[in-house]
Structure formats: C-alpha cells, structure tokens
Symmetry: C2
Subunit: 216 residues, 2 copies
C-alpha cells in the first residue's frame, strides 16, 4: 500500500477522516458495499473525486461492484495510523486545556493523553479526566520518562511560541496547536493548527454573504 | 466591491482570515506596503496564489507598488464581515462549552456571546465569562427576545442533531458546530464545523507518514 503514496495533497489527507467516519457509520448500519457515486453523495463530493482520492492510496474499488465498506474503512484506518500509539501531553490547563483533556477522541485516533501542565500552582494536582495537572517545570523530565511524542498547546497566544520551543527542545516533533498564532518551529516538526478564530471568521463571512444575497 | 464575488471557493474563503491576521501583524509592526511575493512568503503561499485570491474580491494591489497593508487589512475585514454584529448562544455548558464561552475571539470576529444553555440543573445560574448558564427550556424564548442569529453546539454528539433542530425551529440560520457529527439541516442553514477528531487524525497521519519515510 505504501507503493503509491506520492504527492498526496493536504486537501486529500483532510478528507480521509471524513471518509473513515462515514464508512464507520455505514458498517454500524450493516451496509456491506457502496458505489463511489453513493459514497460521494453521502459526503457532498462527486464520484470522480472519491475515486481520485482513494486512488492516491492504491485504489480499493472494483469496477461494477464498488467498495467493500468494511475493508475500505479498515484500509483508511491503517492509512490514518489510527492503531498507532502516540503519547501526548497538554500544556495550558485553563478552560480550553481542561476541555481538551476531557475530549474522548484521543484513543480512537491513535493517541493517549499522559499529562497536563500549567504554571499556575493552584491548578497543580487537580485531576482532569484521566490525568493530573502537573507543574510546567516538570514537563521536560516527564517528556523523556513517559516517551511523549506529541505536545498539545492550549496556552494563551503570548505563551505559545515559548511553549513550542520548550517542547521542541525536549525532542517533540509533533504539535497540536490551539493557540491563535503561527508557531515558528524547525522544518521537521509537524504542526497541526486548530484556529477557532479562522473558523469563526469563515462563519461571519458566510452569514454576511447570505444577507447580501438576500438583500438584507 | 460586491460586483466580483462570483464562484469564490471555500478554499479561498478559508485563507482570508489568515490574510487578515498576517496583515494585522504587519500593521502593528509599522509595515505600510508589501509585494504579493513577500505577502505569500509570510504565509507559505506563492505570489500568484495571493494575487489570484485577492482578485476574487476585486484586486487591491497596484503593479510595481504591491499592496497598501492597512487598506488591504481593512478591505479584508469588511469582506469577512468582522464589523457586523451577530448574536450567539452556546448550547452545552460542559468543559468545551465553558471553554468556548471564555474564548476571547468573539467580539473581534463580529460576534457577541449572549448566553449559555444546558439541561443540567446544577449548572444553571453559574456565570462563565460574561454570560450566565441558563436552562435549556428557556432557550427558544431567549432566541426571540435577544435576537439571536447564531447557535454554537457544544453538546455531546448524541444530543447535537436534536439541538440543531431546536435551533433551526427557533429561526436560527447559522450554526458553529463542535459536536463530532454531521448535522442534518435545511439547505439555507449555514453550518461551520469544528471537527477536532479530523484535525487529530490528520496529525496522526502526518506522524505515521514521517515515521514511514524515516524507516522507523
């Protein structure tokens, strides 16, 4: 399966989790096979887009049959690395950090949350979900001891860059960033940003455009 | 400015908040003009992509001069509807709902958070940031009385569809959805999804791919 993975665009990669979710729903409903047309319709994509995307990874469909739902779901899960084990910590135990610590999706996506760090001494020791809030000064030791490979930044914007540098200096090469800022990190460090601000501004734009179209 | 807004793709729309943020940073630094090449470099895009995107909205640059940073920032703010006033409520006052209620980006993106609703009576009355948690049964009246036009869904996945239907039945036509599910709503209702799960799975994929490339 690794043989064809050349030049897969981020746009395709970002659709894979949607494919996986939709296929999981179909498996639950007892659907065993699906055409690329039906598959696309369920996701708001056309059939040729679905076929083209899946071809990037080797192409699992059979002409005249379509896709075997369960097989395709399992293939995509493998591609996504869902069965890997990544060890993550959260930095910043404010409201957002605590919400993310309670997020139930880690394990199902190949992650285990191992700890939560903050510089506020009043937060240290509090249990959130399955982990404890620890003092930020213990972070570097913890990363080495617990084999942490993913840092989740939930600090205020102002502390995010310094946090990223501390994580990178401790050997972390993958960051899930919730702070509304662009992190400056070495090229070999993966940063996946969750920019709520951008999502909210897209919503504002779409509302405004609809009002313009409706002549409001 | 409205004259050219035909067929603007979601990909372009999603880049506008990034443009706005970068230009705001430049204004703060005292930069007055920028070429499309420098502009692109600051955002990891090439110059022709930047020019093409901005042309969708009328094209603000001058050949040989580039863009006036402050003017372009203001134009993009207008396009994004940042100076509008949308009234929003959050449904679901768990960890995530409370984190979002404390999110400081609403006002700067054209939104005012007016309230927070939950069905848990133990949460009702608690103040989070600038708003109070209210009983979900008061939601429909509140939407009408306070002229709410945006609903933010922070409920568990299982309650999200029902919540969306209640919001739509109360006249809400724009939803910011944090629940990990695809909402079924009428065509004229805007849904902007924040799928943490998808973002996390993209991160898992990128980590796995790097390991494969490094032969781990």
């Amino acid at each position: 399966m690794e043989k064809q993975k050349v030049n897969v665009s981020m746009a395709v990669i970002r659709r894979l989790p949607k494919y996986h979710r939709y296929l999981s729903e179909l498996v639950e409903k007892g659907v065993t096979r699906i055409s690329s047309k039906e598959f696309g319709r369920g996701l708001g994509l056309n059939a040729s887009q679905v076929r083209q995307d899946l071809n990037c990874f080797g192409g699992f469909g059979q002409q005249g049959y379509g896709y075997n739902v369960k097989e395709l779901r399992d293939e995509i899960a493998d591609i996504l690395g869902i069965h890997r084990e990544n060890n993550a910590i959260i930095v910043g135990a404010g409201n957002l950090g605590q919400a993310i610590a309670n997020y139930s999706g880690f394990r199902g996506s190949g992650f285990e949350l191992k700890g939560l760090f903050d510089l506020n001494p009043r937060l240290v020791g509090i249990r959130i979900g399955t982990v404890n809030i620890m003092d930020i000064d213990e972070m570097e030791d913890f990363i080495k001891k617990e084999n942490i490979n993913v840092g989740i930044i939930c600090t205020p914007k102002e502390a995010a860059q310094e946090t990223a540098e501390r994580l990178v200096n401790s050997g972390i090469k993958a960051i899930w960033n919730f702070a509304p800022t662009i992190l400056n990190v070495p090229d070999d460090v993966i940063v996946e940003n969750v920019h709520l601000n951008e999502s909210l501004r897209v919503l504002a734009y779409l509302i405004k455009e609809r009002e313009v179209q409706n002549g409001i």
